[in-house]
């Protein structure tokens, strides 16, 4: 990778990806929990999730639990691979400077 993936390179989006990567494959994280983990405002987080969804890196599911609306987010296979590539890119920079 010559250049970092500009979609992931943004700090909040990087945190979203890292938080989702920690889950077992297929597991989803609720929007409110992700908001706490990332420490972003609701609007800000929503905008970044939309960007990641458009890039195909996350999938968003909206449903109801006990009659209350619930939004859940998961990393897609493409998203998982993109984060791995980004981490490899960062490690490459550190290794090159060693």
């Amino acid at each position: 990778m010559e250049q970092p993936d500009s979609t992931i390179h943004q700090p909040v989006r990087l945190q979203i990806m890292a938080a989702l990567k920690a889950l077992p494959a297929g597991d989803m994280l609720e929007f409110v929990r992700l908001k706490t983990l990332v420490g972003a405002t609701e609007g800000n987080l929503g905008a970044h999730i939309t960007t990641l969804e458009t890039a195909g890196y996350v999938e968003v599911k909206k449903d109801f639990e006990a009659k209350r609306p619930r939004t859940r987010i998961a990393l897609t296979t493409a998203g998982r691979r993109a984060l791995e590539d980004y981490v490899a890119y960062l490690r490459g920079i550190l290794d090159a400077g060693a």
Partner: protein, 182 residues
Amino acid sequence: MSVSRNEAQGALRDIERTARRSFSAQSYRQAAPFLILWGVLWMIGYGGTEYDVHLANPIWLSIFVAGTAASTLIGMRVKSGARKFDVRIFIAWLASLGFFIAILAVIGPVSGPQMGAIIPLIVAWAYVVMGAWMGWRLVFAGTALGALTLFGFFCWPQHFAGWMAVVGGGTLVGTGLWLRRA
């Protein structure tokens, strides 16, 4: 767009920190209902034992059966709300049961209060060990449970069961609620 060595280091640190917090939060969320369930069952079991020690065996047998069934149901819900039987939880449960029976067979007859202290101490140890991977809240809960169990056993033996109903069961329920909010 170029990334400096310092920026790369910072980004990797952020990824590591966020992933660790996410893993802890997820582990807490999954552990919470088990702690609340067993906290309530301990309150009933130790409370019943304190009320009438002769009822201890039937009460604890009922609690064991009810707790096993309820834990299995909770374990089936862990995968994002889907009802799926997780054989690992069942194996862990069977291994724990076998371990308790083997330990008691080896060390010989133990009194009711000794039995009532050994199990919470093993649970406390397990929380501290699991907490080393899952997050510090479990380490705290295990340390508190172990210390309170020892305090009740040595300092208040005449009402140890009552102490464990309130303090032991209360610690589990309180920790479960605390983990659920993480």
